[in-house]
């Protein structure tokens, strides 16, 4: 059975290449730190299951310290290299035209068809791929397929995609592993019982005397707690056990299906407003080379607040049986 461990090997190979190419980049003013950072990421992907939990923990600490004290470096292009790239783009653009768009669409379409087809594919009585991880495995396959088609189309060597990946990682920097670190933080929060403390506090100290007030408390609680945790899934069980079920459903007689469905969407409003949801909010800002880390969040806040108000109204209108 093909499992995620193969995908991690591929990821480990990519980060190893990025580490080496960063080390060989004379234009990067902090190339030693940059190499160590991506090297640690490669180590985690290649050997994470063999070294102890403590060893993995030390990797996380080392990466955080590298990022937090001085950060990573970034390569620059000489004017000559810049001109060469320009010429390369114009030449390939004229030759390939819109066919260049095809490999870009291969990755998402392979991920999609792979999810639908591979999930139930059996070979000799066992699943060919781990059904729970079909999307990621299919996406990794799509990446290889797209490269296999794009390299001859563009007529260049396999070193070029790795070098370009290194350039993009220079742009994204340490924020590339922030989503994974936040997921780990969520696990530590769960271990320490952080959610329960907050749920109890909210339920104890904030009163609600009408269906509207109860719906507003639950929806705002979902959004607010998601802002703190960075993830509506982490907020949902706590807020619903603390406020949603006892107050909105039991005390005011609301329909649990409506309350939970709209409660979850209120949590998504919180996701749009928090730097803790790094993969949606901070990583795109880095990918798009925006100088203000929070500019994506700023663009989302008006819609998020209006939708939160709409959710409170919808819950008040539809959840309570008359």
């Amino acid at each position: 059975m093909i499992t995620l461990s193969y995908v991690y090997l591929l990821g480990g190979a990519l980060f190893t290449a990025v580490a080496i190419l960063s080390g060989l980049d004379p234009s990067n003013p902090k190339r030693a730190r940059t190499t160590v950072f991506w090297g640690l990421m490669a180590l985690s992907l290649l050997l994470g299951d063999r070294i102890s939990d403590f060893g993995n923990g030390l990797i996380v600490l080392a990466m955080a310290i590298l990022a937090g004290t001085g950060g990573l470096g970034k390569g620059t292009l000489t004017p000559v290299a810049e001109a060469e790239r320009q010429a390369f783009r114009q030449d390939r653009g004229a030759r390939i035209g819109n066919w260049l768009l095809a490999p870009a669409l291969i990755v998402p379409t392979t991920a999609l068809t792979g999810t639908l087809l591979l999930k139930d594919l059996m070979v000799g009585g066992v699943h060919l791929v781990d059904p729970k991880q079909a999307t990621l495995i299919a996406m990794a396959f799509g990446v290889l397929l797209a490269l296999a088609l794009a390299l001859p189309l563009i007529r260049t060597t396999p070193l070029v995609p790795l070098q370009e990946a290194r350039r993009l990682f220079d742009t994204v920097g340490w924020s590339a592993i922030l989503p994974q670190a936040l997921a780990a933080l969520g696990a530590v929060f769960a271990l320490a019982g952080v959610g329960k403390v907050i749920g109890d506090l909210t339920a104890t100290y904030i009163p609600a005397h009408s269906p509207l007030a109860a719906a507003a408390l639950y929806c705002c609680g979902m959004a607010g707690f998601t802002i703190l945790m960075g993830n509506a899934f982490a907020a949902f069980p706590i807020m619903t056990a603390g406020i949603g079920l006892p107050l909105v459903v039991m005390q005011f007689g609301a329909d649990p299906a409506v309350v939970c469905a709209i409660g979850m969407l209120s949590g998504f409003c919180g996701t749009l407003m928090t730097p803790m949801a790094a993969n949606f909010n901070l990583v795109p800002a880095a990918l798009l080379e925006l100088p203000d880390r929070y500019s994506v969040i700023r663009a989302q806040i008006p819609t998020a607040l209006i939708l939160l108000a709409a959710n409170i109204a919808l819950m008040t209108l539809f959840a309570f049986k008359v």
């Binding site: 995620l4 995908v7 990519l14 939990d53 993995n56 923990g57 990797i59 996380v60 600490l61 955080a64 310290i65 937090g68 004290t69 950060g71 790239r85 390369f88 783009r89 390939i96 260049l100 768009l101 998402p108 996406m139 990446v143 490269l147 794009a150 563009i154 260049t156 070098q163 990946a165 340490w174 989503p179 994974q180 670190a181 696990a187 929060f189 320490a192 952080v194 403390v197 899934f233 949902f236 056990a241 649990p256 409506v258 469905a261 709209i262 969407l265 730097p275 949606f280 990583v283 795109p284 798009l288 080379e289 925006l290 203000d292 994506v296 663009a299 008006p302 819609t303 209006i306 939708l307």
Partner: protein, 225 residues
């Protein structure tokens, strides 16, 4: 109460502008210590959780493809495509993308789209090109505003589309949670209640994107005058 120290560290750390990766790691260690774990146990718990969540970072596998195609001029192609469609504005392009992304997500096709796969190589350059065609060369603040709006459109369309699909993780989580509390609900009964908010999201964000063109025009005027 001491267990909330980690949340305080995050709030203060983000507001004070410390490196988020460092803030998050310190918050995890402090939270674990406050809950009574030893330093060795905390580091181990953090390491185990980091290792278990490696799949989160696998989205980066796509970067060599995106990088290679950008090197060969993918963003130029995306721009050229938009320039051939006269009358396409940044706002109308993003409305169209928002609509398609939301519909696809509602059908469970969440992997069509995404920040690294679609927004950076295709949607953001197209959105910029549409405004370049109208206003000429764009100053940086305008360019950045357009990019941020492209990223936001992808997120909002995804969040308020996916819950309509009955097999989505959030629907499964709600069902599981309610079943644990002795309440059985059909997935369809949950997903149907995602539709009103999805419609409101389309209307609200659609209006905001429609007004974006005027906002960009004002920004251009303010900068040129």
């Amino acid at each position: 109460m001491l267990t909330l120290a980690g949340i305080a560290i995050i709030a203060i750390g983000f507001v004070a502008g410390f490196n988020p990766l460092l803030v998050v790691t310190v918050a995890a260690v402090v939270t674990g210590l406050a809950a009574g774990l030893s330093l060795h146990e905390v580091i181990s718990a953090l390491g185990k959780a980091f290792n278990d969540n490696r799949y989160v970072s696998m989205v980066w596998l796509v970067l060599p493809v995106i990088g290679l195609l950008e090197r060969a001029g993918l963003q130029d192609r995306a721009r050229a495509l938009i320039n051939r469609l006269a009358n396409t504005t940044t706002g109308s392009l993003l409305i169209a993308y928002f609509f398609l992304r939301q519909m696809a997500a509602a059908l469970g096709l969440t992997s069509l789209g995404g920040q690294a796969q679609m927004v950076r190589p295709l949607i953001a350059p197209m959105a910029e090109a549409a405004s370049e065609a109208r206003f000429g060369p764009l100053p940086d603040p305008v360019r950045h505003q357009i990019r941020a709006q492209a990223a936001a459109a992808d997120n909002i369309a995804l969040f308020f589309g996916e819950d309509i699909f009955i097999a989505m993780a959030s629907i499964l989580l709600i069902r599981g949670f309610l079943a644990g509390n002795g309440i059985e609900v059909e997935p369809f009964a949950l997903s149907v209640w995602a539709i009103p908010t999805a419609v409101v999201a389309l209307l609200v964000h659609g209006v905001r994107l429609w007004r974006l063109d005027r906002q960009l025009a004002r920004m251009m005027q303010g900068i040129n005058s």
